[in-house]
């Protein structure tokens, strides 16, 4: 009998909260690229006699993320100590949350092939990060090392751990979920969500449910350093577990380590996972009491969420899912687009411009949309000029270039670009058209003799005219003037080409 399997995945995502200082001391969090152990103090080094003081900003950011996922915020939550020995853990316990996390019971939508799926969020809790071990072996790995160095710059960095329900049923869904979390935390400014630098980390739990009613044991996979690595690891683990179950075997409940080079998972050594963390309430920290006004204030500060914006862009403006996704990913970009449309510009043209030209500028400069030297209203004005036929698309791009490079307003940028709408007189335009027709007798002849049914030759000639006049007349004016000139050519008393 052939059996079918369902994959069941739950993820634990750790995001580094975008605070200025660490979770329990006032050391800065900007440790990337800094001298090892240069951003530490007696508190984050866990020296005897020191006590933690909770960073209120971390609590706010955690609550903000939780509210955006529709979680309920525990009005009373507390910290526990998670005890284990490891050199990167200065106090030999991690201050984390256990039975009373900051928030519980939320959800986040993901989109798979245009289909929306709601993924449950079990909990969000706060905890401190550990330091980092640097092993002395030539390849930087633990095996074969004769010594290891510890850098405590990262120790005490605030993390929010977001635990999903086991609602994900494929590596692809897992990927979309992680991307959705990353988008959300970036969107809210809760975290920079950068997986490469470690400010977003994922552990995956995966098991198989068999149609014959059997359940495979859950396996936890660690060392997932990129979204791609996670997907590959989950694909590999799906196959591995199904093979075992198909062969009548049992999947061992264990923690496995993803080896990105080998493309496979292997069990972590038994000792590492034989932990009894001996959780107990952290006696040095009072309970975190969150009052209703605080929740209300944070709730009010949450902008329309990316998935809501996305749906609205599609419903109201008729954007396609590709555009609506791309344009709702960043709050600054989405709000910029909304500003452009609010200034009266056509939503389709606006979406197109923001997705191409504005995104390109943002990528080049690393700016956020609200840091651009021009306002969304200015771009809106510019795009209105296109719709009204005052400016050509080409000319408008030149103008935008001036607005961004020189920080000019629309009028000044038009001057600087040498674009003067309506600045070409009818006479000049007519002259240019005649010149172009003379220079392209073959195309002109074909048009005149009615051999350009698709109008392609005509468009080509109009394009040449536009180039000559550098887009300073609306394309409609060029077309009608060209028709007029060619009409004259056809007349018996007109000069024949």
């Amino acid at each position: 009998m052939t059996r079918a399997f369902e994959t069941v995945i739950g993820l634990e995502v750790h995001v580094q909260l975008a605070t200025e200082t660490k979770l329990f001391c006032s050391c800065p969090t900007s440790y990337i690229g800094k001298e090892p152990n240069s951003m530490v103090c007696p508190v984050c080094l866990g020296l005897p006699g020191t006590l933690p003081s909770l960073n209120g900003r971390a609590v706010e950011l955690g609550i903000t993320a939780a509210l955006a996922m529709g979680c309920s915020i525990n009005r009373n939550s507390r910290f526990h100590r998670k005890n284990y020995f490891y050199p990167d853990l200065p106090k030999a316990f991690q201050i984390s949350q256990y039975d009373l996390p900051l928030a519980v019971c939320g959800s986040i939508p993901i989109f798979i092939g245009g289909r929306k799926k709601i993924i449950g969020i079990t909990r969000l809790h706060l905890e401190e990060d550990a330091g980092k071990l640097v092993h002395g072996s030539s390849d930087g790995r633990l095996s074969g090392t004769s010594f290891s160095l510890v850098d405590y710059n990262r120790a005490g960095i605030p993390l929010a751990e977001i635990v999903s329900e086991p609602d994900l049923s494929s590596p692809e869904e897992a990927r979309e979920y992680v991307l959705a979390i990353r988008r959300l935390v970036r969107y809210l400014g809760v975290s920079d969500g950068d997986m490469e630098s470690g400010s977003l980390r994922v552990d995956a739990n995966i098991s198989q449910k068999c149609t014959d009613g059997r359940w495979g044991n859950r396996v936890e996979i660690k060392n997932l350093n990129s979204v791609r690595a996670m997907e590959r690891a989950l694909e590999h683990e799906t196959v591995r577990q199904r093979d075992i179950l198909s062969g009548g075997g049992a999947v061992k409940q264990e923690t496995r380590h993803w080896d990105d080079v080998a493309g496979s998972t292997r069990p972590t050594r038994g000792k590492e996972e034989a932990h009894d963390y001996r959780y107990f309430p952290e006696p040095d920290l009072p309970a975190i009491v969150v009052c209703d006004p605080m929740v209300r204030r944070l709730e009010e500060g949450i902008p329309e969420l990316p998935w809501a914006k996305r749906e609205r862009f599609e419903m109201e403006w008729g954007l396609d899912p590709m555009d609506s996704t791309a344009l709702s990913e960043r709050l600054d970009v989405a709000e910029f687009l909304e500003g452009v449309v609010a200034a009266g510009a056509d939503s389709g043209i606006s979406a197109n411009w923001v997705r191409t030209d504005i995104m390109r500028i943002l990528k080049e400069t690393g700016l956020k949309a609200d840091e651009l030297p021009f306002t969304p209203e200015a771009l809106g004005d510019l795009l209105v000029k296109i719709s009204k036929g005052v400016l050509s698309n080409t000319a408008a791009k030149d103008v935008l270039e001036q607005m961004y490079r020189k920080g000019l307003d629309v009028a000044a940028a038009m001057n600087a670009a040498g674009v003067d709408p309506g600045g070409i007189s009818e006479g000049t335009l007519e002259g240019v058209i005649r010149k172009v027709l003379e220079a392209n007798p073959v195309e002109a002849g074909l048009i005149l003799s009615g051999e350009d049914p698709s109008g392609k030759k005509k468009k080509f000639l109009q394009g040449l005219v536009m180039r000559e006049i550098r887009g300073q007349s609306p394309v409609q004016d060029v077309a009608s003037m060209m028709d007029k000139v060619m009409g004259e050519m056809k007349k018996p008393n007109g000069s024949s080409v």
Binding site: L51, R81, P87, A92, R278, P283, D284, P286
Partner: protein, 489 residues
């Protein structure tokens, strides 16, 4: 001007007026320490150089007309689990034998701001675990009243320092009785404040939910003076109250107990209590009654039955976590080994003494999965019952009067092989820590053999001032202890 017999406030006011020089005061203190330390071993580190330097600064301030503070030039000793910037802080352990903190405990800073001169770090049971100051990697401390006896513990060095007249004032820490029991054994006053009244920043933690710093002195006025200096809000300790504190000193100067109801705990006065201590309680009771207090009987049955087992789960559980950081990786004692796990185990096996290891093992066990509910969680429930029981008691009494210890100071070595009996000596003090209440040992004279007697008074949370008030009244009856061995102070 001679300062024999002066207390801290008298010394400070003489220094402030320029009648005494701080350097002279400190020098006399240091000389006495030099003479008696071979017999007492009350100190782990004598800060001679630092102390003389600071005393000179105090004198300079006086000379320049500045305010030298309420403890100007007063030599003070702090227990060696309070961090002192640049001065070794050992906790009586081999583990921290050479550890020098890069910061001061908050209380150390407060003392120094008040003009006090810290002249030494006192001996203690290792990491404050013990009741005799025999569990110290630096050898035992002797009781100045009878050097064949222990001074109590774990703050035995601080208690002995005050009793022997090294200093008028010392700080200790009290997790289950570590101020009040040695105060009783050495015949001085000792106050454990309400949990959260005095900052724990810089106090090397034993059991974080129970630890509290407090003063030893030979006069209630000095206890009050010290409290005014150290009991201030501190943002560095999130468990330290931000509330206002009364002026303890004013209360000590004009005590008034009229109309106060004194609750006497009858079940603590049974046969297990030394008869001389029972006598001290009844003497205190009569005097308080004659001072205008009402006397009521109260019961603390839950404290009596669950206090000790509850404490010996919660305190070791927290300690097992607090002391886990001593792994030899960053600071302190380290035994190098062929791999990490061996380095950990050897470091900890050789760095910690027997009693500390016993408690780490107990605490680790109590928190282990499968045992947590049966031990730690049950202990938390018992702790709640004890707190509730005290609260009920305080509905009929304003101050509770009870013994501080069941026995008179025992002889050195007497209980070293009998940890349970040793633990029993805190049976009357540790329920007070479990409930977070203020408790004070008040000197109650000497018995026929010349050994010190005492009583303990306990008040509701944040009512530390009531204890000062009551102790000042009791002092009128029992008198102040004089320094043993013919002391300077």
């Amino acid at each position: 001007m001679k300062f024999d017999g002066l207390d801290a406030s008298q010394t400070a006011s003489a220094v402030a007026k320029g009648e005494l020089s701080a350097v002279d005061v400190v020098t006399a203190s240091l000389q006495r320490i030099k003479r008696l330390e071979p017999q007492l071993n009350a100190l782990i580190t004598v800060m001679e150089h630092e102390a003389l330097e600071r005393a000179a600064l105090v004198d300079l301030k006086v000379a320049s007309g500045g305010d030298p503070g309420p403890l100007a030039g007063v030599p003070v000793i702090v227990k060696d689990n309070m961090c002192t910037h640049g001065v070794r802080t050992s906790c009586g352990s081999r583990m921290l034998e050479k550890w020098v903190p890069p910061y001061d405990a908050s209380v150390v800073g407060y003392l120094q701001c008040a003009g006090a001169v810290i002249i030494g770090k006192s001996n203690m049971d290792e990491f404050a675990m013990g009741s005799s100051t025999e569990h110290s990697a630096f050898g035992p401390t002797s009781n100045p009243i009878d050097t064949s006896r222990v001074p109590g513990g774990s703050s035995g060095g601080s208690a002995a320092s005050v009793a022997a007249g090294y200093v008028p004032l010392a700080l200790g820490s009290d997790t289950g009785g570590s101020i009040r029991q040695p105060a009783a054994f050495c015949g001085v006053h000792g106050l454990k404040p309400t949990y959260g009244l005095v900052s724990r920043w810089g106090l090397v933690a034993f059991a974080s939910s129970l630890d509290q710093i407090g003063p030893f002195a030979r006069s209630v006025a000095d206890i009050a003076l010290a409290m005014d200096v150290i009991a201030v809000p501190d943002p560095r300790d999130p468990t330290c109250s931000r509330g206002e504190r009364p002026s303890f000193r004013n209360l000590a100067e004009s005590p008034d107990l009229k109309g106060m109801r004194i609750g006497v705990v009858r079940e603590f006065l049974g046969d297990s209590l030394h008869p001389d201590l029972r006598q001290a309680i009844s003497e205190a009771e009569s005097f308080l009654a004659s001072s205008g207090c009402g006397i009521v009987d109260i019961s603390l049955a839950d404290s009596a039955s669950f206090g000790l087992p509850c404490y010996y789960i919660i305190a070791p559980a927290e300690a097992s976590s607090n002391l886990a950081r001593f792994d030899g990786v960053r600071y302190g004692h380290r035994e190098d080994a062929e791999n990490l796990v061996c380095q950990y185990t050897r470091t900890r096996a050789t760095g910690f003494g027997e009693e500390v290891k016993r408690r780490i093992l107990t605490g680790t066990f109590a928190l282990s999965s499968g045992y947590y509910d049966a031990y730690y969680l049950t202990a938390l429930k018992a702790r709640k019952k004890i707190s509730d029981e005290f609260e009920r008691a305080f509905s009929s009494a304003d101050i509770i009067l009870m013994p501080a210890t069941p026995s008179l100071p025992f002889r050195k070595g007497e209980l070293m092989d009998d940890p349970i009996s040793m633990y029993m000596s805190d049976v009357f003090t540790l329920p007070v820590n479990l409930a977070g209440l203020p408790g004070m040992t008040v000197y109650a004279g000497l018995n026929a053999e010349g050994l010190p007697l005492s009583v303990q008074i306990v008040a509701p949370r944040w009512e530390d001032s009531r204890l000062i008030n009551c102790a000042a009244v009791l002092e009128q009856h029992f008198g102040r202890p004089s320094s043993a061995m013919g002391g300077v102070y």
